[in-house]
């Protein structure tokens, strides 16, 4: 254990804690993405270089700066919840549905028979935590405007009328559709999870942070299992408009959508928003072993940091981002040298990509140009709190010993990256995935091949 490279800050108590910390492995995965619902669809499309960015079909987007997005294929939410729970799907915002679908797969994938699949439940709900990241859920405009219409005074909302006859148009449970903690809430109710529960709301960094926090919860022995990650849908007028106002969107006019998002490429012209969710089942190692679970990977390191630059841009020096990378590797007792694959955020926004590369360079040094990089946003778009898909990808890369492609990253400017538009088989023993949010939260997670950590 002394190999970890302790800092002078480590007190004897800290050393003891690290020694006693439980080991945590991934035993289940659930994915909902623009290139497929379910691990198998997702993974095969990812490796084939399929792009999920297409013209927006859920509303007429011709008046927006961008008319394309990463949309999840059609689904029926009723197929993913127990019969007795179908009624409750009426009060699920789309973000919640995505989380519920991913959770259903994750449980099945992990072979865990919660109360959703067995009576009585075969899991110990009190020792099962939940930490699902969420975004700022946009109220459905049609539903709310339909109520406002009753109380309108021209194009103004007349609050007098609203109080008397407008608000009554809304379903009594209206508010509960949009509370960010309702993702975790529905998942805990469906599966009967009563352990430590949390909801991280840090935009794009939410999933990584939620997974990191669930990791700590199991490490300190407060639960044996946790479902964690995040989900979000920005494919709605408000979601797209927020990015349009910030001038971050790729207008994509006259361009093949599958060529639109170019992470780290010198020709990058902006991001494409999307929707999706990625959840993991984390499990204490001995617990997983004793029930004979399939172990996909070990979650070995986590760190987070904050920029102090400004609200709308990442710190161009990448200082804090680099620190998160450095600390996550240290936490995993790994070195940059050992990293076999990097799954960064890579949004295709030039100033953001530059800042991210600066940060990665600070954390990885010269190894940044060696480590294969999978820049998967080119295929799945920017999923906000749904970036748990990135984390699931990191885990699957280890499981399949395969490096997913970076289909639109060809020329990267000063900092050379090891990218290929083809997936390839390779020894993948240690994977780093990093993320930042608008608002300056940075997070890094390190996964290792299961046998690596015996």
């Amino acid at each position: 254990m002394w190999k970890r490279g302790f800092t002078h800050n480590d007190s004897p108590f800290t050393l003891l804690r690290i020694h006693m910390a439980k080991r945590v492995v991934v035993t289940g995965i659930g994915i909902v993405s623009p290139i497929g619902i379910g691990i198998e669809n997702y993974w095969s499309n990812l490796l084939k270089g399929v792009c999920g960015i297409r013209p927006i079909s859920s509303f007429d987007a011709s008046g927006f700066a961008a008319t394309v997005a990463g949309q999840v294929p059609e689904y029926k939410i009723g197929d993913y919840v127990p019969k007795s729970y179908r009624k409750a799907t009426k009060v699920m915002a789309r973000d919640i549905e995505l989380a519920v679908i991913a959770a259903d797969e994750a449980f099945k994938n992990a072979g865990l028979k919660s109360q959703a699949y067995a009576n009585p439940s075969e899991i110990d709900g009190l020792r099962f935590g939940c930490n699902i990241g969420a975004g700022l859920i946009s109220a459905e405009l049609d539903e709310l405007t339909s109520a406002m219409h009753v109380a309108r005074d021209g194009n103004r909302l007349d609050l007098h009328k609203w109080g008397i006859e407008g608000m009554q148009q809304l379903t009594p449970l209206w508010l509960l559709k949009y509370l960010p903690n309702m993702l975790a809430c529905h998942v805990t109710i469906i599966h009967g999870l009563m352990g430590p529960s949390n909801t991280i709301t840090c935009a794009d960094a939410s999933s990584h942070l939620a997974i990191g926090e669930a990791f700590r919860t199991i490490q300190r022995g407060k639960a044996e299992l946790a479902i964690c990650g995040g989900a979000e849908s920005r494919v709605n007028p408000m979601g797209i408009m927020r990015y349009q106002l910030l001038n971050r969107l790729n207008t994509c006019r006259g361009v093949d959508p599958s060529q639109a998002l170019k992470p780290f490429d010198v020709q990058a012209t902006g991001t494409v928003v999307g929707e999706g969710g990625g959840l993991l089942i984390l499990e204490e190692y001995e617990h997983a072993k004793s029930r004979g679970a399939t172990i996909y990977a070990e979650l070995a390191g986590f760190a987070a940091s904050q920029d102090t630059y400004k609200l709308t841009e990442p710190d161009p020096t990448g200082r804090s981002y680099g620190k998160a990378v450095e600390n996550a590797l240290k936490d995993a007792r790994s070195t940059p040298q050992q990293v076999d694959l990097l799954i960064p955020h890579g949004l295709g926004i030039p100033s953001h990509d530059r800042a991210e590369l600066e940060g990665l360079k600070k954390g990885l040094g010269e190894h940044l140009s060696r480590i294969p990089v999978s820049a998967i946003k080119a295929q799945i778009s920017q999923l906000g709190a749904g970036c748990g898909v990135d984390v699931a990808t990191a885990v699957l890369s280890i499981h399949h010993q395969t490096v997913p492609p970076a289909i639109n990253t060809r020329q990267t400017g000063d900092i050379r990256l090891n990218v290929s538009d083809q997936s390839r088989k390779a020894p993948v023993r240690t994977v780093l995935t990093t993320v930042y949010s608008l608002g300056g939260q940075n997070a890094a997670l390190v996964f290792k091949a299961p046998d690596e950590a015996q």
Partner: protein, 436 residues
Amino acid sequence: MNRVVITGMGWITPMGHEIESVWKGLLTGQTGIDYTTLFDASTFPTRISAEVKGFELKKHLGNEIQQHEGAGRSTQFALAACRQAWEMAGLRSDTLDLDRVGIYFASGEGSLDFQAYTQSALSSWQPDSGKIDAVLWAQSAARLMDAIREIEQEPNAALPHLAMLTGARGPALNCLTACAASTQAIGEATEILRRGDAEVMISGGAHSMIHPFGVTGFNRLTALAENEKLKSVLGEDNPRRASRPFDNNRGGFVLGEGSGVVILETLEHAQKRGARILAEIVGYGSTADAYRITDQHPDGTGAVVAMKEALKDAGLSPSQVNYINAHGTGTRENDGNETGAIKQVFGDHAKRIPVSSIKSMMGHLIAAAGAVELIACVLSIRDQILPPTMNLETPDPECDLDYVPNKARPACVEVAMSNSFGFGGQNDTIIVRRFI
């Protein structure tokens, strides 16, 4: 595992903008609740709320306001509360290892840009199809909405502001678990310090839902005290009598707004710099009810386990707890369930532990409630006095604990517990102890 102590506290509340005056108000049964002025609520079922009054960020930040002028209302509260806490702790950015200073906050979503939002929606509404015309909406929204006003609504928007104010570059997270959020944030911040991933954590919460759609949401859920119902039960809708935790005539909570911020440090870090230690955080428990999205578990299982976990974490027996600052919202459901849960955890001792709810005076600050209530617990330990539950006039047979009715009470307080329960069955409990 590091011990974790509180060395600074600050709040912006409906009862005032600094620690001592608000504390005095809480001990003398003042109220922060009045008729709603932030918008025209005159036809809403609920026309009362606990607004923060007379707040100006400039008074708190002086010239440093520049970077923060675009901040949303609740983020402004957070900035002012953070400044107070930072100063009370005697921290200086130039003497800290800022990579080891983190933030774990519970900021709610910001208020909608109401005019732009409603106008865009209404001007593009197509009554025949029952849908908005997305093309018209986009034109209107692009013209009326503002990028910064939109981004400041994100629940993580408080983090960069607090980071810029203090220089904090360590782990930064925002959790939003409804009414339990800031208790959760403080609990999780404690865990980060215990583990040694930071030396100082800024924690707490900030929220304002006193806007038309916020009140609408809670009114539709029938969660709020309503004026006509108050009149029929009390003969008047006097705002100061509206929030009635544990009273038999309670009818819902009163929506408040504000922020509470605490500075947490590892004991080692606090002692090394000679900081004044206000209290120690000794226990934290978090659970989910996994029951229903609308209701708490009637058996109180989730709340019971949260309290038990916190006690176990603190290594304390139930009889060592001297005071419980209840979630005590004043809804029929919560107060009965919480009372039952306390009895399950504390057994015979339950009737001997004073339990009070400052929401009777402060209103319910939603994501910020737990932080403000934890600060009250620390002040109780400091001054050996308990804030009362006001408006407790008619006992409810189901609520039969000692709620410190209507008058503050001197008491020996070494250990205090603070409960927070959120919509969706989120339960969090924190235990603080006099530092010895």
